[in-house]
């Protein structure tokens, strides 16, 4: 290994460690000082940045599982070198999301209550179950990939189902809230699934562009095209979502629109960045890898704004409108108690804005750092597991040893053999 590769392998570890350390410190500050000073939230804007990060990470987790399962089940040999990375992102995203939701809790010390007496009617209970099942299946898939298991296809099917279920539950978690017009539509769960596909493909496009030599140009083109299509489907759903509120006609619909207007730049970025990505992905023929990189990054940033915009129209608008007695008067929102007294806002407000404060931005690094750390551990694990046999026999070329074992193992199943061959190819590429 050259000094340079050693160096490039070190910096993600350092980055993960720094993220976790800074994130932990910020979280401890929030726990000790309280969220009144440790966040920009209020009783009316009760979910903040961490919920956006949760939805953001879980999207990448489920989306990467979609991509990994697609590659294996559709037997896309040309994309097989990416499976390992996709599976690592799937697990990392889900665990990072779990951390985000845990550190968002106001009283984490009571968490046992959720394990000992979960309420079956709560979508948050379904979410806990769906996320746990997803993580367990993702871990099994990592091991199956590392060990070139014969049962890989079976586990990938389960992975696909668990990813689908997870995103469906995430969508329902918001969509079932009748009090929030911005969430309460059938679009929400459908779009959660589509956005996961967008996120999974965006990461795939970025990683494959960076490792372009390992892939045939057609494979890269396919990925770009798939991402562009997924983004277009998402944008169509986003427009329908907006139309539902625009034509809803109720005072609450008007409130949600006003809230969008108050953060219009976020909304423009949420839709504009992925739209720009579509053009870059489809039209950037000169240097396809560069277009993929730019398109992928634009999409990822756009999806972050999309997750932030889950919050603003829902929380920066009132939910209850009251008319005067015996009057065909308009319905008016009643101010609500914000919970703020001597810090940043009025005691009562009709609608409260939200700006995440320093501690929230800093504690956001904890789930991101954990996700990065999990990703690195999975990549290391997959690379390591195949090696002991080879090292024990003193062989220099581990791939050769693995190949012999694999061909022997899978002789009776030509499809499995193909998948494994492709995985071996991938390792060769990496070793090169």
């Amino acid at each position: 290994m050259t000094e340079q590769t050693q160096h490039t392998r070190k910096w993600p570890i350092i980055l993960a460690a720094v993220f976790i350390a800074v994130g932990c410190a910020a979280w401890i500050c929030q726990l000790t000082m309280g969220l009144l000073v440790g966040s920009g939230m209020s009783n009316t804007f009760a979910w903040g940045l961490m919920i956006a990060v949760f939805a953001f990470l879980v999207g990448f987790g489920a989306g990467s599982q979609f991509v990994a399962s697609y590659i294996v089940l559709a037997n896309r040999k040309d994309l097989m070198p990416y499976v390992k990375t996709a599976q690592a992102v799937a697990l990392a995203g889900a665990i990072g999301a779990g951390v985000a939701i845990l550190i968002d809790l106001g009283h984490p010390a009571h968490i046992m209550a959720m394990l000992t007496g979960p309420n079956p009617t709560s979508a948050l209970t379904w979410d806990m179950i769906a996320l746990t099942v997803f993580i367990v299946i993702a871990i099994i898939n990592v091991i199956a990939i590392a060990r070139n298991s014969k049962a890989l296809k079976f586990w990938m099917v389960l992975g696909l189902i668990s990813a689908f279920a997870l995103q469906l539950v995430e969508g329902l978690l918001f969509a079932l809230m009748e009090a929030r017009v911005w969430w309460h539509s059938f679009i929400m769960p459908v779009d959660f699934i589509v956005v996961a596909v967008v996120c999974g493909l965006a990461i795939a496009v970025i990683v494959c562009a960076l490792k372009k030599d390992e892939f045939k140009p057609e494979a890269l083109h396919d990925l770009s095209f798939l991402l562009a299509v997924a983004i277009i489907v998402h944008l169509v759903l986003a427009v329908i979502e907006l139309a539902i509120v625009c034509f809803g006609g109720s005072a609450a619909d008007g409130g949600a629109l006003a809230a969008i207007g108050s953060v219009w730049l976020f909304y423009v970025l949420e839709l504009g960045l992925p739209l720009a990505a579509v053009f870059v992905l489809l039209l950037g023929k000169k240097d396809p890898a560069k277009s993929m990189l730019v398109g992928g990054v634009l999409t990822v940033v756009g999806m972050f704004f999309h997750r932030l915009m889950l919050l603003y129209p829902a929380f920066a608008s009132p939910t209850l409108y009251v008319p005067l007695s015996n009057e065909p008067s308009p319905s008016w929102a009643l101010p609500a108690s914000t919970g703020l007294y001597n810090h940043t806002g009025n005691a009562f407000e009709i609608a409260q804005g939200y700006i995440p404060n320093f501690f929230e931005w800093a504690s956001m690094l904890l789930p991101l750092g954990v996700a990065l750390a999990v990703f690195l551990v999975v990549v290391w694990f997959v690379a390591k597991v195949g090696k002991p046999a080879a090292e024990a026999s003193g062989a220099q070329d581990t791939i050769e040893v693995k190949e012999t074992v694999e061909v022997h193992e899978s002789a009776d199943d030509p499809e499995v053999a193909e998948v494994k061959e492709a995985l071996v190819e991938q390792e060769r590429g990496e070793d090169r």
């Binding site: 309280g34 969220l35 009144l36 966040s39 939230m41 209020s42 009783n43 009316t44 009760a46 979910w47 939701i101 968002d104 809790l105 106001g106 009283h107 984490p108 009571h110 968490i111 209550a113 959720m114 007496g117 979960p118 309420n119 009617t121 709560s122 979508a123 948050l124 209970t125 806990m128 079932l176 809230m177 009748e178 009090a179 929030r180 929380f315 009132p318 939910t319 209850l320 009251v322 008319p323 005067l324 007695s325 015996n326 009057e327 008067s329 308009p330 319905s331 008016w332 009643l334 101010p335 609500a336 108690s337 914000t338 919970g339 703020l340 007294y341 005691a347 009562f348 407000e349 009709i350």
Partner: protein, 225 residues
Amino acid sequence: MRYAMAIDLDRCIGCRTCAVICKDHNAEPRGIWWNRVFSPGAPEYGTSVIVDGMPRMEFVPISCQHCENAPCQQVCPTGATYTDDTGTVLVDYEKCIGCRYCITACPYEVRQFNWSKPDGVEGVDGEYRWGYPEDYRQDGRLVYTPVRPEGVVEKCTFCVQYTNQGGIPACCTGCPANARIFGDIEDPESEISQYMSGRQWLVLGESFGTKPKVYYLPSTRGEGE
């Protein structure tokens, strides 16, 4: 038995005594209000609104509506939010994990969160605390405590510490206009049933399907004008 409350908008004078006495009796920490009274159309404080060229001012007190079909209870992952035998919706402070899902689910924006360690008020000789002084447990569940744990949700309990002992909520005791009437809505002889009998009433946010147990008797002002 189903506890309910009627609020007569003709009698309410918008003095906010109910909000203050509620805060006092229930040891609500700083910044937390279980009860609020506003004039529809007024952005923060009670100002009149112009309807058909005429100024109108009407007061609507709002606290937990003790919904029969409570979305807060449905979404609570731990079962911290529950409905007791009297139909009162309560929060067990020892089970609440502070996920705030119930706050997002409640259409009436009445749920309050302890964003910090509860702050007392500086008294002459140190900290001054107020409210019912002891913990109150219902079947072992901590539904009232004068010093709230940090990071949990709270809201109106219909003054469970009093009603479970035969009393009535503090807001009903304190209202100088007698605009609030409390009792068992299933008992035709109860004060609330008698008061509401033959009168028009409405519930807030009917479209949410929450079936509130706080009934509003609309003001007769403006009728037939």
